[in-house]
């Protein structure tokens, strides 16, 4: 049986890592994820894990060493934020191309410049094409649960992809909440032992990994990688269900609130979705048919499922905690708008960019988004596709 405990997001992640007991961790500190690295280093120093912890000299080397360690043949984990993730960028693509299930916790933080240590999603959104599975957590319980599931999802033989498990910097990483921490044995049994796939340490069967791959094969290799993502989506669903069967907390690609009969709906990810839930409750008390789609799995992107879930609405707003400069709107909006269009939906849809650099998003801010949607639902017209929320001009 698990145990209820008060923990910060970072400590919950470190606790999950201790339970998972990876063979190698190669990580580099950066706010707001540093505490995870420090806490885990203590577990290593106290002999509580078998992990070989490599305190590398940069995030570039961290992801290089992690990818190499995974290719050698074992379970590998890593932790970072913002600029650290940006420094890994070159290698992220390679990890995914090599189909190495490295598990990376990203404590979301704004990318520089200017330098800022607080939450937004510019870091992970910037890596959205790298080929990693991305799960986003609303709260401390979810970042613990998602990390455990990330291992099972990424390591499945039909998937073999790296996974980012994301939580909001400070808002979740440094917030204490009560959560259910499962027993070590139960967690280990649930994820199972690591199953190597063509490991380089198998010296009897030498393998050349990362050759030069030109116009005669590269595109076929990319296409074969492309074909892994439907299986990955299925794995997110199945492992979320299996997690629920074992631990009582079931997960899916997304969580919805009131969408069955909602006239207006917001799409949000991570901690802001928690705030939006309260706003939905309040509006429902007022008789407003408000709904929420909290996206948990951004990669693989469940476009069809999202379009279907929003089908009955009269107006939808996608909230982006990242800007896509020059695109005129945020990345989550682009993908949802495309999914709606290709899914034959004509629901009026707009976009709000919010919370950059840790700017607090209050219930009243989100309520103003719903109030805007009420107008659009009435008129059927979107006056301005993208607006920035609560920003001084």
């Amino acid at each position: 049986m698990g145990q209820l405990q008060p923990l910060e997001g970072n400590l919950a992640v470190a606790e999950a890592m201790r339970q998972i007991n990876p063979d190698v961790v190669a990580a580099y500190p950066i706010t707001p994820s540093t505490e995870i690295v420090q806490t885990f280093a203590n577990f290593v120093a106290d002999g509580e894990v078998d992990t070989n912890y490599v305190a590398v000299e940069s995030e570039h080397s961290a992801m290089s060493a992690c990818t190499a360690a995974a290719a050698a043949g074992g379970r590998v984990m890593n932790v970072t934020s913002a600029n650290g993730l940006a420094l890994m960028w070159e290698i992220l693509y390679i990890t995914a191309s090599f189909r190495q299930p490295v598990i990376l916790t990203v404590v979301n933080r704004a990318l520089s410049g200017n330098i800022n240590i607080h939450c937004d999603h510019s870091d992970t959104m910037g890596t959205r094409d790298a080929g990693w599975i991305q799960l986003y957590s609303e709260n401390v319980q979810e970042c613990y649960d998602n990390l455990i599931q990330a291992v099972a999802i990424g390591e499945r033989m039909d998937v073999r992809l790296p996974v980012m498990s994301c939580l909001d910097g400070f808002l979740v990483s440094h917030s204490y909440e009560m959560l259910e921490v499962e027993d070590d044995e139960a967690v280990r049994e649930w994820i199972g032992p690591y199953k190597p796939n063509e490991p380089l340490l198998d010296v009897e069967n030498p393998y050349t990994m990362g050759p030069i791959d030109l116009y005669d094969y590269y595109i076929e290799h990319k296409y074969s990688q492309w074909q892994a993502y439907p299986a990955a989506k299925q794995a997110v669903i199945e492992e979320g269900k299996r997690f629920g069967e074992t631990f009582g907390r079931e997960y899916g690609l997304m969580e919805t609130l009131g969408l069955d009969d909602a006239d207006i709906a917001v799409v949000a990810m991570s901690s802001a979705a928690g705030t939006a839930k309260d706003v939905v409750d309040k509006l429902r008390d007022e008789g407003v048919k408000a709904g929420l789609l909290k996206l948990r799995c951004f990669r693989p992107f469940p476009g069809e499922e999202i379009a279907a879930a929003l089908a009955g609405c009269k107006a939808v707003c996608v909230m982006d905690r990242a800007a896509s400069f020059g695109a005129g709107s945020g990345p989550l909006f682009h993908e949802i708008a495309a999914a709606m269009y290709t899914g034959g939906q004509t629901v009026p849809i707009n976009n709000v960019i919010y919370g950059l650099g840790g700017r607090t998003v209050k219930p009243a801010d989100i309520e103003s988004v719903y109030r805007g949607l009420m107008e659009i639902a009435d008129t059927g017209k979107v006056e301005q596709v993208c607006t920035w929320l609560s920003v001084r001009e």
Binding site: S58, A68, L200, L201, T208, G210
Partner: protein, 311 residues
């Protein structure tokens, strides 16, 4: 006991023929000699560069050992990552405790002196048990002979071209071997492909060390140096005879000179064999640069003799 020539010739071939490195390229000579020095399994990390692109054109490979290429600037971190996994699995009893796998990183001078220097320095400081071999041909050859911080003064490269005003590279080469020795690492050495006994002995020594080792091999590139492909070995010998590239090692802090030419040959002999220095043999400016090169060689040689207690 170091392997003799017969034993070396009977060692398993770990980089096979059929790769597409240029005729006369020094890189495969070095790689084969290094890999022949151990009978234990060897697992290689390779930085982006001539060796990597020419030996693994998919779907072919010239490697008979496990081999991993991830990127250009991270060969040390890649070797370190594999070594870390090996140590972890060994400690956990998931790999036999009696095994002795060697980890080698091969990288060019660009991947070592320049873009990969941070990863190398970090891996050495952390003390991974691995051998890092720099295939130093003194420029970015794979991308078309651009200068690196290993390119010597006066070298004509595509980014330090010999022009009407500027006579090739205007800076001296970085003394990376001394820089690695200054990490107080267990073993750092310099060698050339021209002396098989020197290179294989150094590799054997490196493999037996329980920690990081570094071997910097001056590796002639006929294409970039514009020299005759059949002279790869003899030109590297000339680099040692002119003291342009002395053979030495620093074993646990002890500096040892491994080769002292009977007669120190003027550096012009080395330079004149290579088209990359041809412009230095025309006009006063070229002569002045050659004088500076000789002066630098003399200064570094005296410094080395002093460090080795041989002055």
């Amino acid at each position: 006991m170091p392997k003799n020539l017969k034993q070396l010739s009977e060692s398993p071939v770990r980089l096979t023929a059929g790769h597409r490195l240029c005729p006369g390229c020094g890189e495969p000579i070095v790689v084969k000699q290094i890999l022949a020095a151990s009978d234990d399994p060897v697992i290689a990390a390779n930085a982006t560069g001539c060796l990597e692109v020419s030996t693994t054109i998919f779907p072919y490979t010239a490697w008979t050992i496990p081999w991993l290429h991830i990127a250009f600037e991270n060969a040390a971190a890649v070797a370190a990552g594999m070594e870390a996994m090996y140590q972890s699995l060994k400690n956990q009893g998931k790999i036999d405790a009696d095994t002795n796998y060697n980890f080698v990183a091969f990288a060019g001078d660009g991947g070592t002196y320049d873009i990969g220097f941070q990863a190398l320095s970090g891996a050495v400081e952390r003390g991974h048990k691995l051998l890092y071999v720099c295939l130093n041909n003194q420029a970015y050859m794979n991308t078309g002979i651009q200068r690196s911080s290993a390119s010597p003064l006066g070298a004509n490269t595509t980014t330090s071209p010999a022009g009407k005003l500027i006579p090739g590279k205007t800076k001296y080469q970085k003394d990376l071997t001394a820089c690695m020795a200054a990490h107080d690492m267990p073993y750092a050495a310099q060698t050339i492909p021209g002396r098989w006994r020197d290179i294989t002995r150094k590799a054997e020594r490196a493999f037996e060390i329980d920690g990081p080792s570094f071997i910097n091999v001056l590796t002639p590139c006929p294409l970039g140096w514009r020299c005759a492909p059949e002279e790869t070995v003899s030109i590297s010998q000339l680099a040692a005879d002119t003291c342009f590239w002395p053979l030495y090692e620093v074993d646990h802090g002890e500096w040892k000179l491994n080769y002292r030419p009977k007669e120190k040959v003027p550096v012009d002999e080395f330079l004149s064999k290579q088209g990359r220095f041809r412009h230095l043999f025309k006009g006063d400016q070229g002569e002045e640069v050659r004088r500076q090169i000789q002066e630098r060689v003399d200064y570094k040689w005296e410094q080395l003799l002093d460090r080795c207690g041989e002055s």
